[in-house]
């Protein structure tokens, strides 16, 4: 009886604690990435974005995605990867119109991905 109770409490704590930590980590990570890519988006709109800026944004994403692999499906990470590569290449080519469009999609993905893991009716169903 005591063993059963303890096992329930421990497992529940692992899930609740893990859930809170996961939520906090995802929010912080995607908020940070959103700041980086908002800058890219605005500078692309103003046709001022540099290759160095795009490369450092790409590095920021690649640094974070190593840990994100443990929490979100790899297919979603791959999707962001593709958009990030395209964005960097458009900036390199000086095609700022396409670059800003790619940055916008990346920002949308950064907004949607953490929401996929929140506790809501649409995620439950």
């Amino acid at each position: 009886m005591v063993k059963t109770l303890v096992s329930i409490i421990v497992a529940a704590l692992v899930i609740v604690g893990g859930g809170i930590a996961e939520n906090a980590y995802l929010s912080a990570t995607f908020d940070g990435l959103t700041d980086v890519y908002e800058e890219i988006y605005h500078s692309s709109e103003q046709e001022k974005c540099t290759v160095g800026q795009a490369e450092s944004a790409k590095k920021a994403w690649f640094d974070k995605k190593k840990t994100l692999h443990a929490l979100i499906p790899h297919t979603e990470i791959k999707e962001v990867d593709l958009w990030v590569y395209e964005l960097t290449e458009y900036v390199r080519q000086g095609n700022f119109k396409e670059a800003s469009a790619k940055a916008y999609v990346i920002l949308e993905l950064f907004d949607k991905i953490p929401k996929t893991f929140s506790i809501s009716l649409e995620n439950l169903l």
Partner: protein, 227 residues
């Protein structure tokens, strides 16, 4: 992580309800809850194991969710009969002193055919060779045997809930005349008035009118018929 826990919990509860509604024939040797856990754990562990696009943590959380639900239900079952009956079901007495309890069989989505099959599994071939037969909550049939009754002959089920079992009837080689004679002797005009009727190769008849206590009697089989 939390959403996976909730999703796993919702599906687990749904499976328990569905398994309970399906009755005892769907499970074997296990409590419904144990059966579901066995089904789920294997699948939950298998998917993230083989699909590299799914983070391993998804599998771990789902398995933990099943574990928590199992422990919770075990705890609640120990504390409350109501929870135990709701999750695991309760034993059904399908043969009592009056004979076969058709209503109880139906409650478990079973027929007399299934009962006779399970009865054979316990080494009893005739319906009157047991005092009581109980379908336990794990789907297993246990019997309180009538030690005086012999199990030497194989009875064939001829009528089940007012319907003639044509295959068995043809197999037995009996004719309509025999059936009518037995019915007339027992004051029955139509098959619908019979719940269960079996006949063995020596002519011993197990006869149960609808909502009445069963009777057994010997009768002459026509011609050289015997099995």
């Amino acid at each position: 992580m939390s959403i996976i826990f909730f999703r796993a919990a919702v599906l687990l509860v749904t499976l328990i309800i569905v398994m309970r509604l399906m009755g005892k024939r769907q499970i074997g040797e296990m409590q419904p809850f144990e059966f579901i856990i066995t089904l789920l754990i294997a699948e939950l562990a298998c998917i993230p194991m083989s699909d590299v696009s799914i983070p391993l943590i998804y599998g771990v959380v789902s398995v933990l969710a099943v574990f928590i639900m199992h422990q919770l239900l075990t705890l609640l079952s120990m504390k409350s009969d109501l929870v135990r009956h709701a999750a695991c079901g309760k034993p059904s007495v399908v043969i009592n002193k009056n004979g076969v309890d058709i209503a109880e069989l139906k409650r478990n989505n079973m027929g007399v055919d299934d009962l006779i099959e399970s009865l054979r599994g316990t080494g009893n071939y005739s319906l009157d060779s047991v005092y009581y037969a109980i379908y336990e909550s794990n789907g297993k049939l246990t019997v309180l045997k009538d030690e005086e009754k012999e199990n030497k002959y194989l009875p064939l089920l001829l009528v089940e809930e007012g319907k003639l079992k044509k295959n068995n009837f043809e197999l037995s080689g009996l004719n309509d005349g025999f059936l009518k004679e037995v019915m007339a002797k027992n004051g029955v005009k139509t098959l619908k008035q019979i719940d269960v009727m079996t006949v063995d190769g020596t002519g011993k008849v197990y006869f149960q009118k609808a909502k009445e206590k069963f009777t057994t009697f010997k009768t002459e089989l026509p011609g050289e018929i015997s099995w």
